[in-house]
């Protein structure tokens, strides 16, 4: 899952990035409202973690702007203001959730997962696709109730495809969800991960749509050979 972190304080941003990376989030950091606006226009993010106090203004004004123009991406606001009035103001300004600094990393992760779940219209926290079940919090996958061991990037790839719900994702879109802006990517890395997923979960778990991209195969899935 790719998250945009808008935070001007470098040590805080580094801490959040490192913490979210432990839960397989890909985090891009921007430090200004302008940067956030640009990043959101360029890359498809699953959620935004937005600090309110930024060098070029209040994060809430940007959020209000986004909501006005119809950008409905889940947004979690971070702030040092803990008064009830501030929380209400934040939520009414279009935030989906609100965390007061200093917060617990686990809470941030759990809240982000909850936001993503709500955005996807899920009821419980596991994502299902036919016989496949994926638990984004525990980072575990089961096929017919049997646990399957996947590596980190394989998990992230599968999560992206499941969350796309049958929508075709291009190779670039998939790479966006797997790697941060400044991470080096080997040219065949994506193919390797797709190969590994097919090997572990069945050949037609991922369907290649020639010239367009990839999506999950028909819901039944094949038993692994």
């Amino acid at each position: 899952m790719r998250v945009l972190l808008v935070e001007d304080d470098a040590p805080v941003a580094a801490g959040i990035e490192a913490g979210l990376a432990l839960s397989d989030f890909v985090v891009d950091i921007v430090t200004t409202l302008d940067g956030a606006h640009g990043a959101l226009a360029a890359i498809e993010y699953d959620a935004v973690v937005l600090d309110r106090r930024l060098p070029d203004g209040d994060g809430l004004t940007l959020l209000q702007h986004w909501r006005r123009v119809g950008i409905d991406i889940p947004v979690l606001i971070l702030t040092a203001k803990d008064a009830v009035a501030n929380r209400v103001e934040g939520l009414q300004g279009g935030a989906d959730d609100y965390l007061v600094k200093p917060f617990d990393l686990d809470e941030l992760t759990a809240r982000l997962h909850a936001l993503l779940r709500r955005a996807a219209g899920q009821i419980d926290h596991s994502l299902r696709h036919g016989r496949l079940a994926f638990d984004p919090v525990a980072r575990s996958v089961t096929l017919d109730g049997e646990s399957v061991v996947l590596l980190r990037r394989e998990l992230m790839l599968l999560e992206a495809l499941i969350r796309a719900r049958g929508r075709i994702l291009s190779a670039d879109q998939l790479k966006d969800r797997l790697y941060g802006i400044d991470e080096e990517i080997e040219s065949n890395a994506l193919n390797v991960h797709i190969y590994q997923l097919r090997r572990k979960l069945g050949r037609d778990v991922i369907e290649t749509v020639r010239g367009v991209g990839y999506r999950l195969g028909p819901t039944h899935g094949d038993t692994p050979s």
């Binding site: 040590p11 801490g15 490192a18 106090r53 600094k101 200093p102």
Partner: protein
């Protein structure tokens, strides 16, 4: 007691007293006047009788030796004509001998059957004419006149009281409106009260009140901003520490070491911010004991400040710094200089020169600290001494210049900021020198570092 009641009571009592006194006085006057005119009437009637008798031949009443003619009696009036020798010639009320047998000429009071009469006797040539008025008639006349005068007075009094009540109520209505408006306000409503329609007496009061409201609102806003800023400055490093510690617990090796380092850096930053904040608060609130502490050499304090901030290589200062002394404990001067140097280091581009110039001017030590860097527009420059205002560089607590400003002002000095193409950023610190009358500054601060 309400203002209206007080006004109405005071004016009402005064009015009634005045009316009452006037009435009593005019009643008294009335009875005197009435008595006098009735007396005159009595005398006139005696003279009229005398005039009538003059035209009657003397024999007509001198010869008759028989009964004196009795004239039918009139109620409340009596008359008798007699000769000087006392023979009654004619008269009413023969039984009222005790009233009408007055020999002396003039007015007198006489009693008959427990009734008082006013008697007038006229001696004319050889006859004596006595006329009398019963006082009861006179008194009832007086009572009638009094009654006739009393009702208009009563009506006027009641009317004036009503007019008074109405006038006072109407006059005080702006106050009542104001009272209602104040009572219906929220206790945290700080908006100005409307001035329009207020009488000129209370207008200055409300204007003063509105001024106070504006000042209170500004103060509350400043407090709120300070609280928000302090929360931000304290919670942000705390967030960094917490997240990095949590990360460190979950990873091993190099990432763990890095996370711990970041957490430690966060602790350091928090410590620094807290120290600066405490210093600022103490400097504002602590009682400053005046006394004659030893003056401090600027040169020595500058050496220490440069050593503490590690910027000696970048600093360039003139010789006069060593000779200049200021009336400030050395610990405080070092704090001020250290903050200014840290500020110059952050704002100035790395490894550019920081120039320090000191001079003696009008009893003040003027210390200029100039660094190279971008020019700051004047509106931003004005905000730099606000607490937690950090300009564009995110390091530092944003309290340094506030601390120096507070310190300088409490010492009887000042700081001014300037930014132009020749001196991209100049802080001028003015402090009193020994012997200047700006007072001593010996504070009970410890060493803040």
């Amino acid at each position: 007691m309400s203002l209206r009641l007080r006004l109405v009571a005071t004016l009402g009592v005064t009015l009634i007293l005045l009316w009452g006194l006037t009435a009593a006085w005019s009643m008294r006057d009335l009875s005197t006047q009435l008595e006098r005119s009735l007396d005159q009437r009595l005398a006139q009637s005696a003279r009229m009788v005398a005039g009538l008798l003059d035209r009657v031949p003397t024999e007509a009443w001198n010869d008759g030796m028989g009964e004196a003619p009795a004239i039918p009696a009139l109620e409340g009036v009596a008359c008798r004509v007699s000769s000087l020798r006392g023979r009654i010639v004619a008269g009413t009320h023969p039984e009222m001998n005790d009233v009408l047998s007055v020999e002396q000429e003039g007015y007198s009071y006489r009693d008959h059957n427990v009734q008082r009469w006013r008697v007038y006797t006229l001696v004319d040539d050889d006859k004596r004419i006595t006329v009398a008025d019963r006082l009861r008639e006179r008194e009832s006349l007086l009572a009638q006149v009094r009654r006739a005068a009393f009702y208009p007075f009563l009506l006027a009094s009641i009317g004036s009281l009503i007019a008074l009540w109405w006038g006072v109520t109407r006059g005080l209505s702006p106050l009542s409106r104001l009272q209602r408006r104040l009572m219906s306000r929220d206790h945290d409503d700080l908006s100005a009260l409307p001035i329009r329609g207020l009488p000129s007496e209370i207008r200055p009061l409300i204007e003063g009140f509105n001024d106070l409201l504006v000042r209170t609102r500004r103060m509350l806003e400043r407090e709120q901003r300070f609280t928000d800023d302090a929360a931000h400055e304290l919670r942000t490093p705390l967030t960094a520490i917490r997240t990095h510690l949590q990360v460190a617990r979950r990873v091993d090796g190099d990432p763990r070491r890095k996370a711990m380092q970041q957490a430690e850096a966060g602790v350091e930053r928090l410590t620094k911010t807290l120290e600066q904040l405490l210093l600022l608060v103490r400097m504002e609130s602590e009682e400053i004991v005046s006394g004659n502490g030893d003056p401090t050499f600027v040169g020595e304090a500058l050496e220490t400040a440069m050593a503490e901030t590690g910027c000696r290589d970048r600093c360039h200062w003139n010789e006069s710094v060593d000779r200049l002394r200021v009336e400030l404990p050395s610990a405080l001067l070092i704090i001020a200089l250290r903050n200014l140097l840290e500020n110059a280091m952050r704002h100035g581009a790395p490894s550019t020169l920081i120039k320090i110039e000191a001079q003696h001017m009008n009893g003040m030590a003027v210390i200029d600290i100039v660094n190279q860097g971008e020019i700051i527009p004047s509106d931003k420059l004005a905000r730099l001494t606000e607490r937690f205002h950090r300009g564009t560089h995110p390091q530092g607590s944003g309290l340094g210049l506030s601390i120096v400003q507070t310190l300088a002002e409490r010492a009887g000095g000042s700081i001014t900021l300037d930014s132009n193409e020749y001196t991209p950023f100049l802080v001028r610190l003015c402090l009193p020198t020994p012997g200047s009358s700006n007072g001593f500054f010996q504070a009970s601060f410890g060493n803040s570092s």
